[in-house]
C-alpha cells in the first residue's frame, strides 16, 4: 500500500495489505457517510427551517440493524486480520535458514549458523528465514517495514522467533521499535536481500573483518567499534554520553570504583581489555553500573588490539 513495487517484498505483504485495504475501505465509507449525514441533518433540521422538533423515542428495529451490520463487518475485519498473520504462525519450513538477531543497547548483531556475525541483516531471496530474537539487556523490537515483519526482542526469552520469505532484492530499513532508552532512535540498520548465488558467495567468505588497506592508523579499530556499536555510548571528542568519552583515555590515570572502594589506575591495555570483557567489575567514577555489558565471545583478541590502536590515536 505504501509502494506498489513492494507489494510482494515478502510472503506477508499481500495478506497484511489486504487486511489494511478491507478495514480502511469500510472505515472510509462509514466515516464519510456518517459525517455527511450528520452535517446534512444539522443543515436540514436547523431551528429556522424546522422550528418544532419531532419527538422520536427510538426504534428497536434500527438498533438491531445497526448492531448486526457493524458486528458482521468487524467479524470480517477480524477474519482478514487473522488471515494476514497466519502465513508466519507455527514452525518455519524445514529448509529455512536460521539467523539469530541479538539486540543490545543500541545495536543489532546478526549471527549466522556458520559463525558469521554482521551488523546488517543479509538474506537470500526467495528462501525462508527464521530469525531468532534475543536481547541482552532490555526489550528491543525488530521491524522491517517493507516485509511487514515486527517482533519484540525480550531479554530472558529464548524461544521467540519470526520467519518469513523475502521476495524482493534490495536494501530495506530495519528499525528498533520498542523504546529502549537514549539512542533508541539511532538503533537502526538495513536488511539486504541478494539473489541466492550471490548470497552464498557472501556467506562462504568467513574472513572476519575487512581491514581497509592503508588508511589512517586505527581506522580498522573504528570500523570494529562502529560495527559492534560502542559509539552509541562513547564519544571520541570528549563529550559525555552514557559512557565516558574515549578521548584522552589511553594510558592516562583514571579513578574507578571496585565494589565500594575508589581506586586510581592507569588506563593501559589490560585495563581496557578488562573494561570490555568485565565492564561491571570496575566502574568509572561518575558513571553507572550495569549499562555496559560484557563483549566476551563477541570480540576477538585481534579486534581488541585494533580498538586499542584506535584509542591511542585519540
Amino acid at each position: 500500500m505504501i509502494n506498489r513495487e513492494l507489494i510482494d517484498a515478502s510472503n506477508l505483504v499481500a495478506g497484511v495489505d489486504k487486511a489494511f485495504w478491507v478495514i480502511l475501505t469500510i472505515s472510509f465509507i462509514f466515516l464519510i457517510g456518517l459525517t455527511i449525514t450528520m452535517l446534512y441533518f444539522v443543515y436540514k433540521y436547523n431551528k429556522k427551517r424546522n422550528p418544532k422538533a419531532t419527538q422520536i423515542e427510538g426504534s428497536i428495529k434500527l438498533e438491531i440493524i445497526w448492531t448486526t451490520i457493524p458486528l458482521a463487518l468487524v467479524l470480517l475485519m477480524f477474519y482478514y486480520g487473522w488471515q494476514g498473520y497466519t502465513p508466519v504462525t507455527g514452525d518455519p519450513p524445514d529448509d529455512a535458514m536460521e539467523v539469530t538477531a541479538v539486540a543490545r543497547m543500541w545495536s543489532f548483531q546478526f549471527q549466522y549458523e556458520n559463525g558469521k556475525k554482521t551488523d546488517t541483516l543479509y538474506l537470500p531471496k526467495d528462501k525462508p528465514v527464521k530469525i531468532n530474537m534475543k536481547s541482552l539487556d532490555v526489550i528491543h523490537g525488530l521491524f522491517i517495514p517493507a516485509f511487514r515483519v515486527k517482533s519484540d526482542m525480550v531479554p530472558g526469552r529464548d524461544d521467540m522467533f519470526r520467519w518469513f520469505i523475502p521476495h524482493l532484492e534490495g536494501k530495506f530499513d530495519l528499525f528498533c521499535t520498542e523504546y529502549c532508552g537514549l539512542s533508541h532512535s539511532y538503533m537502526y540498520t538495513s536488511a539486504v536481500v541478494m539473489p541466492e548465488d550471490k548470497f552464498n558467495e557472501w556467506y562462504k567468505d568467513t574472513t572476519k573483518v575487512v581491514i581497509p588497506a592503508g588508511g589512517k592508523p586505527g581506522q580498522a579499530g573504528l570500523g570494529v567499534m562502529k560495527r559492534i556499536g560502542c559509539i552509541a555510548c562513547h564519544s571520541s571528542d570528549g563529550s559525555r554520553l552514557i559512557g565516558p568519552s574515549f578521548k584522552g583515555l589511553y594510558n592516562q590515570p583514571k579513578v574507578v570504583i571496585i565494589g565500594k572502594e575508589e581506586k586510581e589506575i592507569t588506563a593501559d591495555d589490560e585495563y581496557i581489555k578488562r573494561s570490555i570483557f568485565e565492564p561491571n567489575a570496575e566502574i568509572v567514577k561518575g558513571f553507572n553500573k550495569g549499562l555496559m555489558l560484557s563483549y566476551k565471545d563477541q570480540l576477538t583478541d585481534e579486534e581488541i588490539e585494533l580498538i586499542i590502536e584506535y584509542l591511542k590515536t585519540l
Binding site: T54, E57, L62, M77, I139, K150
Partner: protein
C-alpha cells in the same frame, strides 16, 4: 458543616466558612468547589503538558537535533504522557464535571461522602507533587515512557521512583472518586428518579466509576511491585531476577486498557447531554445508549492484550484478544448511530457546545475507526509502536475526550459561572482547533504506515515531509486553544450575566440558579418525567 448564619439563597461562591479566601476553597467539602479545584489544577498541568507536546513537535520539525538533546526528548514524552494520562485525562471529566454536576443532575445536595471527596482532591495534589518531584530530583527526569516497561525501568539511571509513587497515589484519588459516585448514585437520587429516569451523563459516570474501582488497584499493585523490585530487589519482572517482563505488560494493560474507557465514557455522556438539548428533542435509543455504556465498561476489561501483539504472547491469545477488541468496538458504534439519529427531525440550535459535540463525533470516529486497524492482528503487527498508534490515541483522547471536555465547558459554563462567553471568539477557536488538529495528527497516520517508529527523537530523511506539516499543525492548534481558553477566562471575570437556562435544557441542573446555591435545591425535586422528555 453548614452553620446557621449561612444564607442558603446565596450562590455557593459567596458562602464563607473561613476568613481566608484560600482556605475557603481548599478546605471546602462543597462538591461544586471541589469540582472547580480540580478544574483549575488540571488546567495548570494541562498548560505544562501542552507545552511539552509543542516542544516535541518543534524537535521533530527536521531530522537531526533541532532544539533539544535525545535525553531531553525522551524525558519530554515521558512527562507529557504521565501528565496527560494520570493528571489530566483520567481525573478530567469525572472529577471536574462529575463533581460539579452529578449531585445536581440527580437532585441531591452533595455527594455521599463530601469529606472523602475533598480528601480525593488532596490525594490528587499530593500525587501530582510527588510525580513532579521526579523532574527535579536525582539523576534527571524519568525517561521510560508513560508505560514504565520492565526491564528498561530497572536499567535506566533516571529518577523513575517518584514518578511511580506519584502514579500509585493518583490511583487512590481516582478510586475514591469512583467509590463516592457509585454510592451517591445508588443512594441519593431524588424521589421518583428511577434508574431509567436518570440522565446519561450520570449513567456514564456510574459505569466509569466501576472501572476506576476495579481496574485501578491492579495497576496500583503493579507499580508497587516495580517500586519494591527497584528498592529491595524482590524479583518480579526483571529477567535477571527470574521475572517475566511480559507479565508486567499484562498487569499494566489490565488496568490501562480499561483506563481508556475511563477517559472516553464521561465524554460520551457529555455528548449525550448536549445533543438532545440543542435539538430540543428526546435522545434516540436512551436504553440502547445505557446498555452500550455498560457493555463498554464490562467487555473493556478483557481486551488488554491488543497492546501486546508483538510482545511474544501465544498465538491463541492473539486471536482471542483481537476478537474481543473488535467486539468492544460495537457499543461505540451503537452510540454514534443513536446520536446521529437524534439529530434527525430535531429543531437544531447550532450553538458553540453543539459545534464541539459535532467535532467530537467527527474526530472520535476517525480515532475509533483507526482503532479497528490496530485491533486486527496483521495490521497492528505492522503499525504497532509507529506514529500510527500515536495518531490513533491522540484522536480518541484529545479529539474524543479533549473535545468532549470543551463541549462540556462551553455547555455548562453559564451554570458554573453565571456568565456567558463571546461567541465569535469561541467559533474562531473551534475552527482553528479542527484545522490544527487535522494538520497535526493526520500526517502521523501516513508516517506510521511508512514505518516511522514512535518515541523517535530523530528520523530518516524519508519521513521529513509529514513531520513538517504536523509541526505546523501543532502551532495552529495551540494558538486556537489559547483563544478558546482566554475567551473563557475573561468571560468568567467580565462576561455578561447569563440566564438561568440559556439553552432550554430540561435536565435538573437547568432548574437551579446559576451559579447554584450551596445546597443546590431549596426543596429536593420530585422527578416524574424522563430526562429528555421534551414533549410539552
Amino acid at each position: 458543616m453548614a452553620e446557621p448564619t449561612i444564607n442558603l439563597e446565596q450562590s455557593f461562591y459567596e458562602v464563607k466558612n473561613y476568613k481566608s479566601p484560600i482556605l475557603n476553597w481548599i478546605l471546602s467539602t462543597d462538591h461544586k468547589r471541589i469540582g472547580l479545584l480540580y478544574l483549575y489544577s488540571i488546567m495548570t498541568f494541562f498548560v505544562v503538558g501542552a507545552l511539552l507536546g509543542l516542544a516535541m513537535k518543534l524537535e521533530l520539525i527536521a531530522p537531526g537535533k533541532t532544539i533539544m538533546e535525545a535525553q531531553t526528548y525522551n524525558a519530554a514524552f515521558t512527562f507529557h504522557g504521565i501528565i496527560m494520562i494520570f493528571l489530566i485525562i483520567i481525573p478530567g471529566l469525572p472529577a471536574v464535571f462529575g463533581n460539579f454536576l452529578l449531585p445536581i443532575m440527580i437532585g441531591a445536595k452533595d455527594v455521599a461522602f463530601p469529606k472523602l471527596n475533598l480528601l480525593s482532591w488532596w490525594i490528587y495534589v499530593l500525587g501530582a507533587i510527588v510525580a513532579l518531584l521526579s523532574q527535579v530530583m536525582g539523576d534527571g527526569p524519568p525517561d521510560t515512557g508513560w508505560t514504565f516497561y520492565a526491564p528498561y525501568s530497572f536499567k535506566t539511571t533516571s529518577t523513575v521512583l517518584p514518578a511511580l509513587i506519584g502514579a500509585f497515589i493518583l490511583g487512590f484519588s481516582s478510586i475514591l472518586t469512583g467509590l463516592n459516585f457509585i454510592v451517591t448514585i445508588h443512594r441519593m437520587r431524588a424521589p421518583g428518579m428511577t434508574w431509567l429516569k436518570m440522565p446519561l451523563f450520570p449513567w456514564t459516570l456510574y459505569a466509569t466509576a466501576w472501572i476506576q474501582l476495579l481496574a485501578t488497584p491492579v495497576v496500583g499493585i503493579t507499580l508497587l511491585m516495580v517500586i519494591a523490585e527497584k528498592m529491595f530487589q524482590i524479583g518480579f519482572f526483571d529477567p535477571a531476577l527470574g521475572g517475566d517482563p511480559i507479565l508486567f505488560q499484562h498487569l499494566f494493560w489490565i488496568y490501562s486498557h480499561p483506563a481508556v474507557y475511563i477517559m472516553i465514557l464521561p465524554a460520551m455522556g457529555v455528548i449525550s447531554e448536549v445533543i438532545p438539548t440543542f435539538c430540543q428533542k428526546t435522545i434516540f435509543g436512551y436504553k440502547a445508549i445505557i446498555a452500550s455504556t455498560l457493555l463498554i465498561a464490562f467487555v473493556g476489561y478483557f481486551v488488554w492484550g491488543h497492546h501486546m501483539y508483538t510482545a511474544g504472547m501465544s498465538d491463541t491469545a492473539l486471536w482471542l484478544f483481537s476478537l474481543l477488541t473488535f467486539l468492544v468496538a460495537i457499543p461505540s458504534a451503537i452510540k454514534i448511530f443513536n446520536w446521529i439519529a437524534t439529530l434527525y427531525k430535531g429543531s437544531i440550535n447550532l450553538e458553540i457546545p453543539l459545534y464541539w459535540a459535532l467535532g467530537f463525533l467527527f474526530l472520535f470516529m476517525i480515532g475509533g475507526l483507526t482503532g479497528l486497524v490496530l485491533g486486527s492482528v496483521a495490521t497492528d503487527v505492522y503499525v504497532h509502536d509507529t506514529s500510527f498508534v500515536v495518531a490513533h490515541f491522540h484522536f480518541v483522547m484529545f479529539g474524543g475526550t479533549g473535545t468532549g471536555f470543551f463541549a462540556a465547558l462551553h455547555y455548562w459554563f453559564p451554570k458554573m459561572y453565571g456568565k456567558s462567553y463571546d461567541n465569535t471568539w469561541a467559533k474562531v477557536g473551534f475552527w482553528g482547533f479542527i484545522i490544527g488538529f487535522m494538520m497535526l495528527y493526520m500526517p502521523m497516520f501516513t508516517l506510521g504506515m511508512q514505518g516511522m517508529p514512535r518515541r523517535y527523537f530523530d528520523y530518516l530523511e524519508q519521513f521529513h515531509g509529514g513531520n513538517i506539516l504536523s509541526s505546523f499543525g501543532a502551532i495552529i492548534l495551540i494558538a486556537s486553544l489559547a483563544i478558546v481558553i482566554i475567551n473563557l477566562v475573561t468571560s468568567a471575570k467580565r462576561g455578561k450575566k447569563a440566564p438561568k437556562n440559556p439553552w432550554d435544557g430540561i435536565t435538573l441542573e437547568w432548574q437551579v440558579d446559576s451559579p447554584p446555591t450551596l445546597e443546590n435545591f431549596e426543596t429536593i425535586p420530585v422527578v416524574e418525567k424522563g430526562p429528555y422528555d421534551y414533549k410539552k
